[in-house]
């Protein structure tokens, strides 16, 4: 099958590409960039894409797919569908499943489940067995089976000695350690600690619970090498710590979630548990620091921390409700609304945050928009105004605080693995 993306703005900063052109895709491969003939147009499905953007496929490197273990909340398939609908062609999934992703069997199980999908799924394996921080996971075996990084996410790597071992051992294959930065002796709370938590009578989690671990991890990488990637950075001081570490040439990277650059802890005022996440929503100062960090390159990428939860578990008393919200299907809209429209990021930088940097961090080749390359593309309508409707989500869960929010910018199609998701359908191309 032949598909033409007509008069689309092609953006890939990796290739210094930013031009309006026609793209011919045949059997999942890019056949022509420009120079299309009348015959091409007659024999292809033509997508009119004036004022739309086409870039290497977007990649969300922080997604909880819940399989194996909580298939009632999400599966590899429904999570991949949500990713495609949200504009992503690849995701990396975190290891806090049941059983944890700490054996090659589970890595292979997830790879097997995702093998026929448009969306590529890359498992991130546990850094320690059972994410308990006591013994190293079989990293070599996990890496060979397809794990692209190691993390105890859901929780921090318990102690500095364990972190050292994980960093040293993972140097063997160049994968990063992804850290959920939280000193648990400081974080026995349900929201950000500050004026709002005092007002609401909820125990708080201070910024410093994150900052201390970011500091520890940076110092450990400086000492022993390896690479650390800071997941869902939320605090102003943590952003500054990463900025200074990068200046010193320490191998640290960082991601931010759409909710941490969009919302503040004031949202918790209604006690709606869809505003409960970990790290918690912080203050406007922190939001501003994250936006600046994204702009100046301190924060490398945007990742959603997509965390599906069953309705009956999320609809609970605030202090008992689990942490986390859905992210895949609102991420791009929030980034365009909050960052591009507000002139914090250009579209070229947006593509870096979504398509290029996450893959570089995980040592995954970045798709190129070139003749002969496999088509792995995201097509975005940057000016479409739409209302979020969780009842239409592909995700199996519904826990989003962004329901009914008006956003600008939406994915209209993704192409990968000889498949296209367009107009709410998967088609083989």
């Amino acid at each position: 099958m032949k598909i033409i993306l007509k008069q689309v703005r092609l953006i890939n900063p990796e290739q210094k590409l930013d031009e309006k052109n026609d793209l011919l895709i045949e059997d999942g491969t890019i056949k022509k960039v420009g120079g299309l003939t009348e015959t091409d147009f007659k024999s292809s499905q033509v997508l009119e894409l004036e004022n739309k953007i086409c870039s290497p496929g977007f990649f969300d490197m922080h997604v909880h797919l819940r399989e194996p273990g909580r298939e009632d909340e999400e599966t590899v398939e429904t999570g991949s569908n949500a990713a495609a609908a949200g504009g992503f062609t690849g995701v990396a999934c975190l290891p806090n499943t049941n059983p944890d992703i700490d054996s090659a069997e589970v890595v292979r199980f997830i790879k097997e489940k995702s093998k026929d999908h448009l969306v590529d799924v890359f498992p991130i394996a546990a850094a320690s067995l059972g994410r308990k921080g006591e013994a190293l996971s079989p990293m070599y075996e996990l890496f060979e089976a397809g794990a692209v990084a190691f993390s105890d996410d859901g929780t921090v790597i318990k102690n500095a000695g364990m972190l050292r071992n994980a960093l040293e051992y993972s140097r063997n294959f160049g994968t990063p350690i992804i850290e959920h930065c939280e000193d648990e002796s400081l974080s026995d709370g349900a929201m950000n600690e500050g004026y709002t938590s005092t007002l609401l009578g909820l125990a708080g989690i201070p910024n410093v619970a994150e900052d201390i671990i970011v500091m520890r991890d940076i110092m450990m990488v400086e000492f022993i090498g390896g690479k650390i990637h800071i997941a869902h950075i939320s605090s102003k001081n943590s952003v500054e710590l990463v900025r200074q570490a990068k200046k010193k040439g320490i191998k640290v990277t960082a991601e931010a979630t759409p909710h941490h650059f969009t919302l503040t802890d004031e949202s918790v005022k209604t006690y709606d548990t869809n505003y409960k996440m970990n790290p918690p929503l912080r203050t406007q100062e922190d939001v501003d620091a994250i936006r600046l960090g994204l702009k100046d390159g301190t924060i490398d990428c945007i990742a959603s921390d997509h965390a599906p939860h069953a309705i009956e578990e999320k609809e609970m008393e605030f202090i008992f409700a689990p942490n986390g919200i859905l992210g895949l299907e609102t991420s791009v809209g929030l980034a365009i609304t909050e960052l591009v429209q507000k002139k914090i990021l250009s579209f070229a930088l947006l593509v870096e945050k979504y398509a290029i940097n996450p893959r570089k961090i995980l040592n995954i080749p970045v798709p190129q928009i070139k003749v002969g390359e496999k088509a792995n593309l995201s097509i975005i309508d940057p000016s479409m105004i739409w209302t979020v409707d969780v009842s239409k989500f592909k995700s199996k869960s519904k826990n989003s605080p962004f329901d009914q929010r008006l956003l600008t910018g939406k994915s209209i199609a993704v192409i990968n693995n000889n498949k296209m998701f367009y107009e709410d359908k998967f088609v083989t191309i």
Partner: protein, 306 residues
């Protein structure tokens, strides 16, 4: 005259007129409590559920008595295990109770925000009887009633809340209510017990009890709640008593009248010495009596709203 909100979730944002109306109404009911027949037919035919997800003796008894004095039908639902552990969700429990056609729900819960949540899933009037470490509005109201009874006013009075302010629902309700009524509110305790950002509420902070006693006319002394891990925030009860406990020596040193309130139950020898707890300065048992009258007022005003 009626209240501006059909629920009592907290004292944050409750207008002065509402607080005044509750306190005035409570005064009428306080008189009823002195009569030989202490019952009025005001809420006859109304059904009230006391939904207590946390152990409580005095608050529950006080509410129950207030309801009976008003001739309402009362049901008690008490459990100390959370719905999460029990298997039935909180929402399902509430929906079940609501299906039995109740008019008002008095709720106590370990989690802040549960009363707000209830207003979204139930049509009943909701009264917060304490939510986590957030608010306990009827306690705030009965404290204000008791202070006003003693001084004849609240405006301009200097009131200090002493103890584990960070983990107290009584503290916030007092702060919000008293500030609205024009009192000058301060807090006193070791820094581990004072929450971040409390100054933003317009509250002065003391870390020395003698200084607080020199500057205030009323001390509302909170219970050191060992069940809320207070032990992690102070080295020992002995040390707390030595540096923050209210003793008659301390009171006499200041040579002026200081009124002592305490929401109960008292840890004698910790936040109050026995002498003070039984002494001439305290109004602790008046608070208990006033509590019934204030709760009658709240139930009456909400239960008869159209």
């Amino acid at each position: 005259m009626s209240l501006s909100n059909r629920h009592l979730l907290g004292l944050h944002g409750v207008p002065k007129e509402d607080i005044q109306l509750i306190l005035e109404t409570a005064r009428t009911f306080r008189e009823v409590l002195e009569r030989p027949i202490k019952k009025v037919p005001t809420l006859q035919g109304k059904t009230i559920v006391n939904l207590f997800y946390e152990n409580s003796t005095r608050t529950r008894i006080s509410f129950e008595l207030a309801q009976k004095r008003l001739s309402a039908d009362t049901i008690n639902f008490s459990t100390s295990t959370s719905s999460a552990k029990k298997g039935e969700t909180f929402k399902d429990t509430v929906r079940n109770i609501e299906a039995m056609k109740v008019d008002m729900i008095v709720v106590r819960h370990q989690s802040a925000g549960v009363p707000q949540y209830l207003t979204r899933i139930s049509k009943a009037n909701i009264i917060n009887a304490g939510d986590g470490i957030h608010e306990h509005p009827t306690q705030g109201l009965l404290d204000m009633y008791s202070i006003r009874e003693k001084f004849g006013r609240l405006e301009g009075l200097k009131v200090c809340i002493v103890g584990d302010v960070a983990h107290s629902r009584v503290a916030l309700s007092n702060i919000f209510g008293l500030k609205t009524m024009g009192a000058e509110v301060s807090v006193c305790g070791p820094a581990t017990m004072i929450p971040l950002g409390i100054e933003t509420l317009g509250v002065k902070v003391y870390h020395r009890i003698d200084e607080a006693m020199a500057k205030n006319e009323v001390l509302n002394v909170l219970r050191i709640q060992l069940e809320r891990d207070a032990g992690k925030r102070i080295p020992s009860l002995r040390e707390y008593h030595k540096f923050f406990g209210i003793t008659s020596e301390r009171i006499e040193k200041h040579n002026r009248e200081i009124v002592i309130l305490h929401p109960g139950p008292i840890n004698r020898g910790v936040e109050l010495s026995s002498e003070v707890a039984d002494g001439p300065y305290q109004v602790i048992l008046d608070q208990v009596t006033n509590g019934v009258a204030v709760r009658m007022a709240v139930l009456y005003l909400l239960g008869t709203m159209h």
